[in-house]
Amino acid sequence: MEESHVDGLIQRFLDGELTRAERRLLLRRLESEPEVRGRLIADEAMLEAAAGLPRAVVPEALAARITAALPAQDPPAAAAPRRPRSVAPAWLAAAACLLLALGYGAGRAAAPAALPPPVAAHEKDAEILVRLVLLEPRARAVTVVGDFNGWDPARTPLAKAQGGAFHVTLPLKPGRYHYMYVVDGKQWMADPFAAETSLDGFGSQNSVLDVEL
């Protein structure tokens, strides 16, 4: 079967438009070729994620502006008033909540109410367990370097889990830490979901981690 024909079948499958005969053809191909099967599964997962992407929260101010701008009767074609760029309170609140939730996964000690708090000791110099997680499916190995390990790429490897995730749990004292990931021993990268970054003086960004009791 021509590759372009298989592509066509996959695209029509994703659109739910295959005939029974075409479905049979595709199923045979999937049975014998794991690579094609993997591609289709990945595409399906991507489209499922696309369908589940969140809707934007409509700021109350925007709804009010639209309503206020509606002409009363038989409207003249007047220009709508412009939205003040700095005002979007509901949106900002939602974004702040997202940041908080992401911050937990990225290792911040402040935890959202929906998730269990990290283990915390009660003494001033207590250590807090902070979990760092990075999704990097193409990587063979990931380590983390930062203020907490002398920036030594060999000291703190992340464990690889299914799905291309790497993770490590670090006992850290309260404080502010700069860190980066090292992928396959050569590529240094910032944590894509760090709540804060800072310039490292060499033209790159460090991720910043605040650990608080």
Partner: protein, 194 residues
């Protein structure tokens, strides 16, 4: 897009007669979908808000010409997409604005607040968020025609018939745009959704 409610035709009839209150109800039902689609197409929240505002005002003014056989939601998408295209064209004609849009592009729309996540471990939650963020960024990198087609088809869930009505383009062309969009996303996100 909000599912059509039994009273939507009644609201439309009242709004067509100039009833602002009835139209405000329609705005509240459809604003999130229009805003989300516009945000993903133009890639910037501030512009998406302007698009949403202009879309509803244009719809209110044009209501007398609205044909009942079309879905109101589809009609709104049509207006919104045209306004998005106007903005993208204006941006392309102004290198300064284009650069500013690239520099100041927003993060994707936020996760709904209050969603229960207790059943997921922190790792699972983090993975899902990273996948979502990767997907949003990849959608933002699509060429604009592919991006609007993909967003309407796979994020907003429109049928090709509705898309054809909304975009004024025949179904086979739309299928090709969606196909190209999926192919690019599939390449860029290899490994992320395996």
């Amino acid at each position: 897009m909000t599912a059509p409610c039994p009273d939507e035709p009644a609201l439309l009839a009242r709004a067509r007669g100039g009833d602002r209150e009835a139209f405000s109800v329609l705005v509240s039902r459809h604003a999130s979908a229009i805003l989300s689609a516009a945000w993903r197409i133009v890639g910037e929240r501030a512009e998406a808000e302007d698009v949403a505002q202009e879309t509803f005002l244009a719809a209110f003014r044009a209501l007398p010409g609205f044909r009942e056989e079309a879905r109101f939601a589809t009609w709104l998408y049509r207006i919104a997409v045209n306004k998005c295209r106007d903005r993208l064209r204006a941006r392309a004609a102004s290198p300064e604005r284009e650069a500013r849009a690239e520099r100041d592009g927003d993060a994707p729309p936020p996760e709904p607040v209050g969603e229960s996540v207790e059943h997921r471990s922190p790792e699972e939650l983090m993975l899902e968020r990273q996948r979502t963020a990767s997907l949003e960024r990849a959608i933002g990198r699509l060429p604009s025609l592919y991006r609007e087609a993909f967003v309407l088809r796979h994020v907003e869930g429109l049928s090709y018939d509705d898309m054809s009505e909304a975009l004024g383009v025949d179904g086979s062309t739309l299928r090709m745009r969606v196909y190209k969009a999926r192919a690019q996303l599939s390449r860029e996100l290899a490994g992320v959704f395996s």
